[in-house]
């Protein structure tokens, strides 16, 4: 069964097919909840602004999506301590589907970097983590018409299973292999990384969107990107975020 699936992937990925290329430009807002035990056991939550650039290549049996997003959120805890979270994410989705099927599935690579800056702490007030992970992804999409206008509803989900991440140190802002260690870049990196594996660190996302297809071939969509991340490194950090993005999609080829 596995061999059949591999053959299927190879066949559909090498076949000469018609391709569509789209560029996405999106902006919106982000709701953010987070907790970082390097600072506090308390939950911080708030809102911020988001911007995103995307690219989609669509073949008959495969969609490849890249989404680069930038967010800055101002959060507070229940005692009004402030924390600014700046996040950059890069999501890659490779979704395979059979002809005329509403379902597609494949794999994803998610990359995230978040820098947090807490107010009122004079030292070690910045904490940063970066992760790269891989895992399965799936999508469902259906199209419909209202008053001769065409719409598509699509929902994508992904779960990150394996990868690695670099968190801030147990106390220090820098990862444990840097700053207080006389290490070069490679040794410092090696001493700082944690493995991303099932039961340890966790990241998953859910992305529903409603797309309105214009007569020009371009489209406008409303997107909600939910993502949960849990990093269990030197100090446990978790965040639960949702981005509402209005996206303009331009066909470029």
């Amino acid at each position: 069964m596995r061999i059949r699936f591999l053959v299927f992937l190879i066949v559909i990925s090498t076949a000469s097919q018609a391709q569509n290329h789209e560029l996405w430009f999106a902006g919106g807002m982000r709701a953010e909840g987070l907790r970082d035990l390097g600072y506090s056991p308390l939950r911080f939550d708030g809102f911020g602004l988001s911007g995103a650039l995307g690219y989609q290549k669509s073949k008959e049996n495969k969609d490849v999506i890249w989404l680069l997003n930038y967010n800055q959120s101002e959060t507070t805890n229940q005692f009004n301590r402030g924390l600014t979270a700046t996040t950059v994410g890069l999501l890659n989705l490779n979704l395979y589907h059979r002809e005329n099927s509403n379902f597609s599935w494949g794999w994803s690579n998610n990359n995230g970097l978040q820098h947090r800056l807490i107010s009122g702490f004079d030292n070690f007030n910045g904490r940063t983590d970066v992760f790269t992970s891989f895992g399965p992804a799936g999508a469902y999409q259906t199209s419909f018409s209202i008053k001769s206008q065409t719409f598509t509803f699509k929902a994508i989900s992904h779960v990150q299973m394996i990868g690695f991440y670099l968190p801030s140190g147990y106390v220090a802002s820098l990862p444990s292999g840097f700053g207080y260690e006389p290490n070069g870049a490679i040794k410092g990196f090696w001493e700082s990384i944690y493995l991303f594996y099932p039961g340890g660190a966790f990241n998953a996302g859910f992305w529903p969107k409603l797309e309105w297809h214009l007569s020009t071939g371009n489209s406008i969509s409303l997107n909600y990107l939910y993502e949960y991340t849990r990093l269990t490194g030197a100090q446990m950090h978790e965040r639960s975020t949702g981005m509402w993005l209005l996206n303009v999609s331009m066909r470029i080829k």
């Binding site: 056991p41 939950r43 229940q78 009122g120 260690e181």
Partner: protein, 318 residues
């Protein structure tokens, strides 16, 4: 709209027991000087647990937690609530002050002293006297240029950092770097990197950077007292390792651990030492930097407007 936060769960209880346990445990995991100070933190917990009562007031809880932290004998340890800030200032309150600002203002700085940023300076008997009250006050390049220019024709320089409670380490680097043309190592530092008692990073060198824009190559005397603390302790050791400098006065108060911060489940914040720093002789900065020449203020001289330490420093240049 913001259901995202609910997926993280709530904040949990902030009962006196929860708050006490959280503080005790985090200090247990991240404080850096238990071994040096011979503190049995488990025993401390036993004594203070008995004083925790679920019905106690916020003030009573604060007092118990503050008393527990007081046992760390560390000026970098505080508990901060909306109504009070605990501290342990025994490191200077049990020692002679050895500093009289009024005498310095009247008899040494006078009315025509120069002000360069946070530095106040005056030429006294051909020696440049520089008074720096707090390393928290930013020292800019042009401030150092000003004292170096004035020191060109001086027989020596006195840097008075008595009762300077510390501040930003960058200011100490910049000032110490003005008295050397070569970068040099003055100590080592390491940080807690895990919860076990001996979980520390490797020792890494602490270095004074050489100043690129010119430096003073004459003799320097640094005045310290027991209220010279934290960054001032670091500065004293930087200068003690400079072959052209002498430390005169009383040992500094310590403060060798860089303070980290935390927040309790009830919103109160605390700070604590999370690093260790040692001299090239493996003596902890935390216990204070020794002096090359021990001098205390003479009370009878002080009453006559004489600062014994400044006079002794001036005499060293003769």
């Amino acid at each position: 709209m913001s259901c995202e936060k609910h997926l993280l769960g709530g904040d949990g209880e902030a009962s006196p027991t929860e708050v006490f346990e959280f503080l005790w445990k985090d200090i247990n995991n991240r404080y850096s000087y238990f071994e040096l100070k011979g503190i049995d933190w488990d025993e401390v917990k036993q004594r203070y647990t008995e004083q925790i009562d679920e019905h106690m007031s916020e003030t009573e809880l604060f007092d118990v937690l503050a008393a527990m932290l007081f046992e760390l004998e560390d000026g970098h340890v505080n508990l901060t609530s909306p109504f009070n800030r605990s501290r342990n200032w025994d490191w200077f309150q049990d020692e002679p002050l050895n500093y009289n600002q009024g005498v310095i203002d009247r008899e040494y700085l006078g009315r025509d002293f120069h002000i360069s940023g946070p530095l106040r300076h005056q030429v006294i008997n051909g020696i440049l006297y520089v008074n720096y009250r707090s390393f928290a006050d930013e020292l800019r390049d042009k401030d150092i240029d000003a004292i170096l220019q004035r020191a060109e024709n001086a027989r020596g320089v006195i840097i008075d950092v008595r009762s300077n409670g510390g501040g930003a380490l960058n200011n100490a680097f910049n000032l110490a770097g003005a008295f050397t043309n070569q970068s040099y190592t003055y100590g080592k530092v390491r940080i807690k990197n895990g919860s076990c008692s001996d979980c520390f990073s490797s020792w890494t060198d602490l270095r004074v950077p050489a100043r690129e824009k010119g430096w003073y190559n004459g003799a320097v005397v640094v005045l310290t007292n027991s209220a010279s603390y934290s960054t001032t302790t670091y500065f004293s050791e930087m200068m003690r390792q400079n072959p052209r400098a002498l430390i005169l006065g009383a040992p500094t108060g310590g403060g060798g651990g860089s303070p980290a911060f935390g927040e309790l489940p009830n919103g109160w914040t605390y700070r604590f030492s999370s690093t260790q720093a040692v001299t090239l002789e493996d003596e902890h900065f935390e216990i204070g930097i020794p002096v090359n020449v021990r001098v205390d203020l003479d009370k009878s001289e002080e009453d006559q407007g004489i600062d014994t330490m400044i006079e002794r420093a001036i005499a060293l240049f003769n």
